[in-house]
Amino acid sequence: MANEHSARVELLQGTLDLIVLRALATMGPLHAYALASRLEQIADHPFPLNQGTLYVALVRLEQKGWIKGVWQRSESNREAKYYGITGAGRRALEKHTERWRRLARFVDKLLEEPL
């Protein structure tokens, strides 16, 4: 069970960072729970990994300086840590989006061509 989970996490580590950055860039600052539910809403199927792994991605991005976490009061008057994208994060988002698009195009092409 644990292996299945970690396998899935490994696969999506880089892309999860990208997704989080994109989400924060378009939706503005969010706390972790809000981010998780929004991502679930957007995805057609239930989100393919457990919500705990979000925290791993968040701490990674925060340590890299691409997002910044600030403690604020939420709508329901709870203390929550809101994560927002930084300037460096936007630049990284651009770069990594481009990289991902190129990779996706390449893989698509390979899959189309009769080899």
Partner: protein, 880 residues
């Protein structure tokens, strides 16, 4: 950039672990409560919602763990935890920890001492930059092996200019000079150097400056640079001596600089710049040593090849300069200077390595014993989820901690040890530049050694603790005498006994060898005979006859001193070579070039001063040197070798007489008037060769005076200098001491050093082995308390119990001695080069070593054995 930021933050989280944990807690709590609310809104009950929330999060614990791994550096975290646990465990058993650390201190510290000396003497003795690449160049006659290490100017410059392998070349030449300070005259060693010398050696002077190129020009005022030790001895360490003028060999020279203490190239007291000039050189210009530094990347083979090509070309142009078969050799300077000492030091390193191994065996044994006691604790930890790797790492960290503590103590021990060892080192083979101390290389070595030792003794206990058998581990009460643990510990004790036997045997052999060395019969007693080398300065006499008178006068004055039982003058003194070899012709027998003898000039009083016995005839008259027939005394060996049964007295012999300043040597005839007993004349250990003594006006330059003290040589020594000064106030006196002292310094010092070092290690090893045997036996007895109690209750006597315990120890002892003897066969061969007249299988020494180890082991068994007999059966049985 972002990666770097991440790394820094991860380290920050490692250093301050609580930082991220608290925040994550708050976040997760909020996340969970919001999830619960959501699920409740969807219609779940409170409990269902809570469960679903946790599942959606993916497990609280797991999330926290993943987060921690991402935000901090996990293995450092674990290491910190292991360290804290190890410290706690070790401080809980202070006795155990202290013993282990002391054992390791002894082992690691001793090795560090020897390594430090090896580093300071063999690996990096010279302070000059690039000193590893310094070489000497010699021309070797391949037929007879004779070497010429000085090159005349033309050859020197050809080698220098036509070779490409050197990045610096210096020409040096060492001579004796007379330094005049006030009324006293001192003999100093003067070294001529090419003007680039100080720049090449690369060390700045302590005071003043080094000679500039202008100082070396022929019409420049003469300058000199003084060695630190000479500055202290002759100039009272006065810095203002720089710029003053000193009188060297009658020439006034300005002292321009004083070099730092470690600058002692060529063992000089004074360096004088003197360029090599091809044009100005003639037959009288003294040749120089060719010393050079290899360019980086150039090898000695390449240098030799180049120089040989140049030399062969010169040999073709002027064949008279070279022997018919010759080779140019390039030798590394450090190798040449300290190479002989290598054997001694590496033997010491081997011995101390054995000591460290024994220490590691002991500590491994202790750790294994403790591991079996902690088996229950380890099993519980494993059952609670600690991985095998985790436990293994944790035990290894304990070992590392012990080793590091041992290294710290070892460095302290090394500091003291180096201070104690250095005075014992033989001074002769060591260059003046050597400086001893606990430097960075030694400290780093000590650290590395600690890590290696930790792995060595820590692996077995770590493997033992980490292996799986949970059920067995909980069931057992840690007997640990059977199975792998017990066998391994017995093997360690056996190994320790074997290794210590090798060491003790080595020490014993060295002792036998040393005793044989010092007990060699020299033919005379060296203790009461003082030697002095006296030189009269050239201005003291105008002719050889006057010089002869001066010496005679000096001898008379010395003879009249109180406490003097005899005085003589000679070319040298036994047992060292004191003469030259000449062909011996006997009147009435055909000449035979193989018939050679050692020729020595001395005064007639020589024989009684040394206490030599005449077998036939008597000494010669000193006055017979000037009248015919000249008299001679021969040695016993010469008489028996060349005259056989015939009586040599009255026979006539002819030898070559070399008198310096008299031009060519010529052959002279002598009449034998006495046969004197043999003394060693080619060194203390070489066979005696035939020897003829001639009366000598031919005392040349400086002479050796031998003084026999009636009682205490020290009392006589004090009065000699003033007595000699009465003969001439400017006489120069060199004082090696008594012949015994000379032997001690030059001949006995090195074997004595080896002996002391290895003996110390052997004693330490024996003690360690005693401790090891004791601890194993004590542990065994404590673990077998119940069995012993049962036996006592069933009627066994105390003696029987004791025999049982000692028997167990005895079995290990026998095995250890057996293995040790076999091991000694191998190591003795390595030691053989340092032994003299002692077989490596010398039976008394072997027996003594075995007895020593046996007694130690039996003594170590005795205490636990006695304790076993005092076990109260009732109390012991009740305890379980």
């Amino acid at each position: 950039m972002s990666a770097l930021r991440r790394l820094v933050l991860r380290l920050a989280h490692f250093v301050l672990p609580g930082l991220g944990e608290r925040q994550l807690d708050r976040e997760l709590r909020m996340h969970l409560s919001m999830l619960e609310e959501e699920y409740q809104r969807r219609g779940m009950t409170l409990e269902e919602a809570a469960l679903a929330a946790t599942r959606a999060l993916g497990g609280l614990h797991r999330t926290k763990e993943l987060h921690r791994e991402a935000r901090s550096v996990v293995w450092l975290d674990d290491l910190r935890r292991d360290l804290r646990y190890a410290v706690r465990t070790l401080t809980r058993t202070p006795g155990f920890t202290a013993l282990a650390v002391l054992t390791l201190t002894l082992g690691i510290g001793s090795v560090t001492v020897i390594y430090s000396v090896i580093h300071d003497v063999l690996l990096d003795p010279l302070p000059y930059p690039g000193s590893q690449r310094f070489v000497n160049v010699q021309v070797v006659n391949t037929e007879d092996g004779r070497r010429r290490n000085v090159l005349p100017a033309a050859e020197f410059l050809d080698f220098q200019e036509q070779s490409t392998v050197f990045d610096a070349v210096i020409g040096t030449r060492g001579e004796s000079g007379v330094l005049a300070i006030g009324e006293s005259r001192e003999l100093v060693r003067v070294v001529l150097v090419t003007p680039n010398f100080f720049e090449v050696m690369g060390l700045p002077p302590m005071f003043g400056r080094t000679p500039a190129p202008t100082d070396a020009q022929p019409d420049a005022p003469p300058v000199a640079v003084v060695r630190h030790r000479a500055w202290v001895t002759h100039f009272a360490a006065d810095p203002s001596v720089v710029g003053t003028v000193m009188l060297l060999d009658g020439t006034p020279r300005t002292i321009v600089g004083v070099m730092p203490p470690r600058f002692t190239w060529h063992a000089a007291d004074v360096w004088i710049p003197a360029p090599i000039d091809r044009a100005a050189a003639d037959a009288n210009t003294a040749p120089r040593n060719f010393q050079a530094r290899l360019a980086p990347g150039a090898g000695m083979d390449e240098a030799e090849a180049q120089l040989n090509v140049i030399a062969r070309r010169r040999a073709q142009e002027s064949p008279a300069e070279y022997p018919p078969n010759f080779r140019v050799e390039v030798v590394n300077v450090i190798e040449q200077v300290v190479g002989d000492f290598r054997g001694v030091l590496y033997t010491a390193l081997g011995a101390v390595g054995l000591l460290l191994l024994i220490a590691c065996c002991n500590v491994a044994n202790m750790l294994l014993a403790r591991a079996t006691v902690r088996e229950r604790e380890m099993t519980i930890r494993a059952a609670l989820g600690a991985g095998q790797g985790r436990i293994f790492r944790q035990v290894l960290v304990e070992s590392l901690l012990l080793a590091l503590a041992g290294a710290a103590g070892g460095c302290l021990l090394a500091y003291v040890g180096i201070g104690a060892l250095v005075p014992l080192l033989p001074q002769g083979p060591l260059p003046g530049e050597v400086e001893f101390g606990l430097d960075r290389a030694a400290l780093l070595f000590s650290l590395g050694l600690a890590v290696a030792a930790a792995l060595l003794f820590g692996i077995a206990p770590a493997l033992y603790s980490a292996r799986r058998d949970l059920v067995q581990g909980l069931k057992t009460d840690g007997k640990g005498l059977t199975g792998t643990s017990g066998r391994l510990r017995h093997a360690l004790v056996v190994a320790g006994i074997a290794l210590s036997l090798v060491l003790v045997l080595g020490a014993g052999l060295l002792m036998r060898s040393f005793l044989s060395l010092v007990r060699v019969d020299l033919g005379f007693d060296p203790r009461p005979v003082l030697v002095r080398q006296i030189t009269f300065p050239p201005e003291a006499y105008a002719s050889p006859a006057e010089r002869h008178r001066l010496y005679a006068d000096a001898l008379e004055r010395v003879a009249s001193q109180p406490g003097v039982a005899g005085v003589a003058a000679s070319m040298g003194f036994p047992p060292f070579g004191s003469g030259y070899t000449s062909q011996l012709d006997i009147a009435g027998m055909p000449p035979d070039p193989q018939r050679t003898t050692l020729v020595q000039f001395c005064t007639g009083s020589y024989f009684e001063t040394l206490g030599l016995r005449f077998l036939q005839g008597d000494r010669f008259d000193d006055s017979s040197a000037d009248r015919m027939p000249r008299q001679a005394v021969v040695s016993q060996t010469l008489a028996t070798s060349y005259f056989g049964a015939r009586d040599p007295i009255g026979q006539h012999i002819t030898v070559t007489v070399q008198t310096a300043g008299a031009g060519q040597p010529d052959r002279s005839a002598f009449e034998i008037v006495g046969v004197v007993q043999d003394v060693r004349n080619r060194g203390p250990y070489e066979a005696v060769v035939p020897h003829v003594y001639l009366p000598g006006p031919a005392l040349v330059g400086s002479s050796t005076i031998l003084v026999r003290a009636a009682a205490d040589p020290a009392a006589v020594a004090g009065t000699l200098r003033s007595a000699l000064r009465e003969a001439h106030p400017h006489v120069i006196v060199r004082e090696p001491g008594t012949i015994q002292e000379v032997l001690d310094r030059n001949v006995y010092a090195q074997p004595r050093f080896s002996l002391i070092v290895i003996a110390v290690f052997a004693v330490a090893a024996t003690l360690l082995v005693g401790v090891g045997v004791f601890s194993v036996m004590a542990y065994a007895v404590s673990r077998q308390t119940r069995e012993i109690a049962v036996r006592l209750a069933l009627g066994a006597s105390g003696a029987q119990v004791m025999r049982g315990v000692i028997g167990a120890g005895g079995r290990l002892l026998v095995m250890g001695i057996g293995i040790g003897l076999v091991g000694s066969l191998a190591t003795s061969r390595l030691l053989a080069r340092q032994l003299w007249s002692t077989s490596t299988y010398d039976p008394p020494t072997v027996i003594a070593a075995v007895v020593l180890i046996t007694l130690t082991a039996l003594l170590a068994c005795y205490v636990p054995a006695r304790r076993a007999t005092h076990i109260d059966p009732m109390a012991a049985l009740r305890q379980e």
